[in-house]
């Protein structure tokens, strides 16, 4: 795309100003400061991409007021491309809705849709254009903060869709990869696992030593076992020797005993049968003595219970029948007393008057008889009371009278008759009653005289003459007195019995020496007791007699035995049994000695000769034994130590044999390696993804970025006269000096930084030229370029301008001179036209 003409209608300080651009390559605009160079640059940009309004802050060259008060504002640009001419006209008139201005695109004079033009520059926007194609002081200042991203995003914009997102993705993956692994570092997972693998390997190497340990242990064990076996054999030898020596020792001691026994042996005679006989006799004698002693004891125990006076006792006992007789009589007397008493009571009951007569003397009784017989008899007539029959008369008369009154009303005549009869009867009754009363008064007087006489009798004797049968009474009285007499006799008899009994009781009491009442039963018991005592006494006497007989028999027997014993002892020629016993003991001891001797002799028989020899050196065997014991102790100690060692080694071997340490160490390592493999895969996948995206973007953008980088390197070298040889565009921008040293951009001099910026930007433009080919606008950018640098940049611009049209706006005459191009100038006259 070549800019042929710039036609300003109204813009900034310009009105109706037209520049025709002579060159397709480099055009120079020369003008002093404030001549309108920057305004022109702004015009070109804004006509293509829209006017800038104050409300939109902009980083550079638009921060003045482009909109004049004149209207319409704007103008047009004429481009030439592939034999076609595009005219872009943008005008803004007051009242227009859009403040970007209204764009009209004409192709070869025909109005066409604006896309027809913009499609050819990939529809970039204003900032893309400004960032990429416009060079000025402000833009140059940004070089220090320039990063790969800025360039990449713009460059990839031309290739893959969503390049921004892809770039972010790429960086995310790279970042993830960076987290997992760093070339130097300890913390990232992969690094950490590498360290772990080393540790695990060391561990495994150590556990693998198990096998050599095992072999060494096995060898040691074998050695120790051999030594142990030898020591055990040696010990067994010693023990055998010890055993045989001990045997010899024992035989020697036996041999000594044998000799001793031999000395002790004596020849004695002893008649065992005779001795046995003596023993038997002794035993019999002892038995007899024992029996006699027993009899004697029985005898002395019997004499203790004797009664004093047997004759007296017997006499008392003989009185028992007498007592029984007395007892019977006594009972009869008591019965008789009762009987008499009852008879007396019966008499009294029959004639209670007896009591009144008991105190009377015989004369008194005679008087009584006379008195009684002199008494008048008792009147017999009865005084008849007739009042009752008299009254009947009255009653019947009244009844009749009443009936008559009643009948008077009903049966007239009968009633009157009855009435008269009734009255008549009542009158009769009255007469009769008067006669009876006169007779009764005479009788009563007579009776009163009799009664008085009888009363006097009663007072004298307290006997009712009316009731008294004097004969019968006197008979009974007589009877009664007889009974009293009988009672008296009976009572005397009782006393007599009691006295006799009391006497007997006293006798009994004396004999049995305990109190006895007068009661018959007690006395009888007492008599029984006495009788019993008499019987016992008789038995005792019998017993004593028997015992005495037996005792004297035993005595006889004993004497006989002693005689026999004496004979036997005499036969044995000993004085007494004790001596005989001693002789017997000696006989036994000799028999024992003989037996021992015989046994030992039989035992030792084979070795007797040897023993005879050994017995001559009694200390030798003992010394040998002591020596062997010391050896045995030493060997046992050695065996103990060896056994402990063997056991220890065996345990160690067993432990190793059971050990899974090697497997575990291997598995541990394998697991760590697995983790390492996984983390590495993760790391590598992230890394590869990031590279893949990167590479895809390069490819999609036709590898512009690598190409650009390589061009930029070339340009940078060119601009710095070969002082810098490389540009590394990573997270940070770094350059390499000719001597190989690397420098970050922020440490570069301003001049070098500008050169770098220039190189990068131009390289970029060059790389996108096939897609976007627009004029490069350089606005007074070389202010810091010295002569030599201007020389370098001239070369570069000439190179770039082969592809892109370059518009240089400068106030430096030197540059204009050096470029050897006649410049377009900003003449004052055209201003404010």
């Amino acid at each position: 795309m070549r800019l042929k003409q710039i036609k300003i209608v109204n813009f900034g300080q310009f009105s109706n100003k037209t520049f025709d651009l002579p060159s397709d390559q480099i055009n120079v605009f020369f003008g002093a400061n404030e001549a309108g160079k920057s305004t022109t640059v702004a015009f070109i940009k804004q006509v293509m991409f829209g006017f800038h309004l104050r409300s939109n802050a902009s980083p550079f060259f638009e921060d003045y007021t482009p909109l004049a008060h004149v209207s319409p504002m704007g103008g047009s640009l004429v481009f030439e491309n592939d034999d076609s001419e595009y005219e872009l006209e943008r005008l803004y008139a007051k009242g227009d809705k859009t403040k970007r201005g209204i764009l009209t695109v004409k192709k070869d004079g025909q109005v066409v849709p604006e896309n027809l033009f913009f499609d050819q520059i990939q529809n970039i926007d204003g900032s893309f254009y400004a960032d990429s194609f416009i060079f000025n002081q402000e833009m140059l200042g940004q070089v220090t903060s320039l990063s790969q991203e800025d360039l990449l995003e713009r460059i990839y914009y031309l290739g893959a869709a969503n390049s921004g997102q892809l770039l972010k993705l790429r960086d995310d993956f790279a970042k993830e990869a960076g987290k997992l692994f760093k070339k130097t570092g300890k913390k990232p997972e992969v690094n950490r696992l590498l360290k772990q693998i080393e540790t695990d390997r060391d561990q495994l190497a150590q556990t693998k030593a198990e096998f050599s340990d095992y072999e060494k242990l096995a060898q040691d064990l074998k050695d120790y076992k051999d030594r142990l076996r030898k020591a055990q054999k040696a010990l067994a030898n010693i023990q055998n020797k010890q055993a045989s020596l001990r045997e010899l020792q024992k035989e020697l001691s036996n041999y000594t005993t044998l000799l001793d026994l031999q000395k002790q042996i004596k020849d004695i005679k002893f008649d065992s049968e005779n001795y046995q006989k003596a023993q038997d006799l002794m035993a019999q004698g002892r038995n007899l003595q024992k029996m006699m002693q027993s009899l004697q004891e029985q005898l002395s125990s019997l004499t203790d219970n004797e009664i004093n006076d047997v004759a007296e006792s017997k006499k008392v006992v003989q009185q028992k029948p007498q007592l029984l007789q007395w007892q019977a009589e006594y009972r009869n007397c008591l019965q008789k007393a009762d009987q008499l008493k009852q008879e007396k009571e019966q008499l009294l009951a029959l004639s209670p008057e007896i009591n009144q007569l008991l105190d009377l003397q015989t004369d008194d009784i005679k008087q009584l008889k006379e008195d009684f017989l002199a008494l008048p008899s008792k009147p017999n007539e009865e005084f008849n009371e007739n009042s009752s029959s008299d009254k009947i008369w009255y009653v019947v008369g009244a009844v009749l009278a009443v009936i008559g009154l009643i009948l008077l009303g009903t049966a007239g005549v009968v009633g009157i008759i009855a009435l008269i009869a009734g009255i008549g009867l009542a009158g009769f009754g009255y007469v009769k009653s008067e006669q009876a009363n006169k007779q009764q008064a005479a009788i009563l007087a007579k009776q009163k005289a009799v009664k008085d006489r009888r009363q006097a009798f009663y007072s004298k004797y307290n006997l009712d003459p009316d009731m008294l049968d004097l004969n019968s009474l006197l008979t009974n009285l007589n009877q009664y007195k007889l009974k009293e007499s009988a009672e008296k006799t009976n009572s005397e008899q009782l006393n007599e019995i009691n006295q006799k009994v009391a006497q007997l009781a006293a006798n009994v009491q004396n004999i049995i020496r305990k109190p006895v009442d007068d009661g018959f039963d007690q006395i009888l018991n007492g008599l029984d007791e006495i009788e019993e005592q008499i019987n016992q006494q008789q038995e005792l006497v019998q017993k004593k007699s028997n015992l005495s007989n037996a005792l004297s028999q035993d005595k006889q027997d004993l004497e006989e035995l002693n005689l026999q014993l004496k004979a036997v002892l005499a036969q044995a020629n000993v004085e007494d049994m004790a001596s005989y016993d001693a002789a017997y003991q000696e006989f036994l001891a000799q028999a024992k000695i003989k037996a021992q001797y015989d046994a030992l002799e039989k035992n030792l028989h084979d070795d007797l000769d040897e023993l005879k020899q050994e017995a001559k050196e009694p200390g030798k065997v003992l010394a040998q034994l002591q020596n062997l014991a010391a050896q045995a102790t030493d060997t046992t100690k050695e065996i103990d130590a060896l056994q402990a060692q063997v056991a220890k080694l065996q345990v160690q071997l067993d432990n190793l044999a059971d050990s899974t340490a090697v497997f575990e160490a291997k598995q541990e390592l394998a697991n760590t390696e697995t983790n390492f493999v996984n983390s590495s895969q993760e790391y590598l996948a992230n890394l590869v993804v990031s590279r893949w995206i990167s590479r895809s973007l390069d490819l999609a953008s036709n590898e512009r970025f690598p190409k650009m980088l390589s061009a930029a390197k070339e340009y940078f070298a060119l601009l710095t006269g070969g002082r810098y040889v490389d540009i590394i565009l990573d997270k940070k921008l770094t350059v390499t000096r000719k001597d190989g040293k690397k420098r970050e951009v922020k440490y570069l001099s301003r001049g070098t930084a500008e050169q770098l910026y220039f190189a990068l930007k131009l390289a970029f433009i060059e790389q996108i030229k096939d897609k976007i080919n627009l004029p490069i606008l350089i606005d007074d950018s070389f202010v810091n370029f010295d002569d030599r640098r201007i020389g370098y940049i001239k070369k570069l611009l000439e190179k770039v301008s082969e592809n892109n049209q370059v518009l240089i706006f400068t106030a430096q005459e030197k540059l204009v001179d050096q470029l050897e191009i006649s410049p377009l100038t900003f003449t004052k006259g055209t201003q404010d036209a």
Partner: protein
């Protein structure tokens, strides 16, 4: 005659890729190879075999732990006590000295070709069937020369070859395990050539038999499927040999794929995973590949790569199986504009070119022999590649989604 051929027991070697498992799980892991060996010996006793061939790498290292040595000795004793001939060689891992091996001396135990010298040993079965075993043991971890020319010509007897070795490759740096060619071995025409070293079971040739029995217990996700030994039966009159694989490894590693063709809810995803993992017939460690991972949300992707989530899933599995690995696969590219699409494709092919990838990983690669080794490991690179794709596609999807809504 009957024989058993096994190799690469790697006793005491760890399992890989399980660092997140609870520690009790490692008790089973630690016993897994032991268990497999016990089962092989059980099989030998039950089948009354005449010969057991052990083709190297019995132990994981040249200094095996006493525990594994004693264990191995005990198992060998079971065989020799039953008068079963055992012929064993050392491999590149257990390149030990004969005297360091704790196996008891027995006429029925033979360590073949000590000091890396090819040795021929002749034996006779109880039925008087004569056979030879020819082979050599490692004394160092590498043997660079081809040992086949040292092998003697086949004689009258039935002949076994016994070797721990790897086929010759074009990259000579890799030819450090007694490199051989199949043609060479075929030319020897031994009746049965028992190989060790390669952990995947494989027949290099059937006439004559040249056989890798594989290892006896898978130890990581690249050692999938049933592991065990070969039981061979020889017709003594015709010398014709038939072999049958016998699985003995107690823990199986298994890959399972779930394919997504549309977005899926978290619950449905979980159910599909459990369903796909519930076909175990023994204790299994599962690696799950989710194809069409682009249909998963970022959250789902994160969840499914969380080991706690794996543990939760594992609780639903049979035989105490474990969900131990997830791989996400993007099955188709996103709809980018043509230019971008092209750029991303081209960038991808460039980035994963060896040199370029090497340059990217260079800082990391320098850190440790392990990282250096991983940087050369195609499986590792592939995993990084897949992870890279998943990560990028997940994000690009976000961008394009945004663009669309905009």
């Amino acid at each position: 005659m009957k024989f058993i051929h096994f190799a690469d027991a790697h006793l005491d070697s760890p399992f890989r890729g399980l660092s997140f498992l609870p520690s009790k799980e490692f008790n089973q892991i630690y016993q897994a190879a032991d268990q497999s060996l016990i089962r092989i010996v059980d099989l030998a006793l039950a089948e009354k075999v005449d010969l057991v061939l052990i083709a190297g790498d019995t132990f994981d290292s040249a200094k095996p732990s006493p525990r594994s040595q004693l264990f191995f000795a005990e198992q060998i004793k079971r065989l020799t006590d039953a008068q079963i001939q055992v012929v064993m060689i050392f491999g590149n891992h257990d390149h030990m000295r004969r005297e360091d091996l704790l196996v008891n001396q027995s006429p029925y135990f033979k360590l073949l070709g000590a000091d890396e010298v090819v040795e021929k040993a002749s034996f006779k079965t109880k039925d008087n069937f004569n056979y030879d075993v020819v082979g050599f043991s490692y004394l160092n971890n590498h043997i660079t020369e081809d040992k086949i020319p040292d092998f003697p010509e086949k004689g009258q007897n039935y002949t076994f070859g016994l070797m721990h070795a790897q086929e010759k490759e074009t990259d000579s740096r890799k030819n450090v395990y007694a490199p051989f060619t199949v043609a060479e071995v075929q030319a020897l025409n031994y009746d049965y050539f028992a190989l060790g070293h390669i952990h995947a079971r494989r027949n290099l040739s059937e006439k004559p038999w040249i056989v890798y029995s594989g290892n006896i217990q898978g130890r990581h996700i690249n050692e999938m499927g049933a592991k065990g030994c070969y039981l061979g039966v020889i017709d003594e009159s015709t010398k014709k040999t038939s072999i049958e694989f016998k699985a003995t490894g107690p823990i199986l590693w298994q890959g399972v794929q779930v394919e997504l063709d549309a977005p899926i809810s978290k619950a449905d995803l979980q159910n599909r995973i459990i369903a796909s993992l519930n076909n175990a017939e023994q204790k299994t460690y599962f690696s799950l590949t989710i194809a069409g991972a682009q249909f998963m949300t970022e959250e789902e992707q994160e969840l499914i790569q969380d080991t706690d989530f794996w543990q939760n899933i594992s609780q639903n599995l049979l035989f105490d199986s474990q969900f131990v690995d997830v791989r996400l696969k993007i099955s188709s590219n996103l709809e980018l504009n043509e230019n971008d699409q092209q750029a991303f494709e081209q960038a991808k092919s460039e980035i994963f070119k060896n040199d370029e990838f090497d340059q990217i990983v260079s800082d990391w690669k320098k850190m440790d022999p392990l990282s250096a080794q991983l940087a050369e490991d195609p499986a590792f690179i592939d995993a990084v590649k897949q992870l890279t794709e998943v990560k990028l596609m997940g994000k690009l999807k976000g961008i394009t989604d945004e663009t669309e809504t905009n």
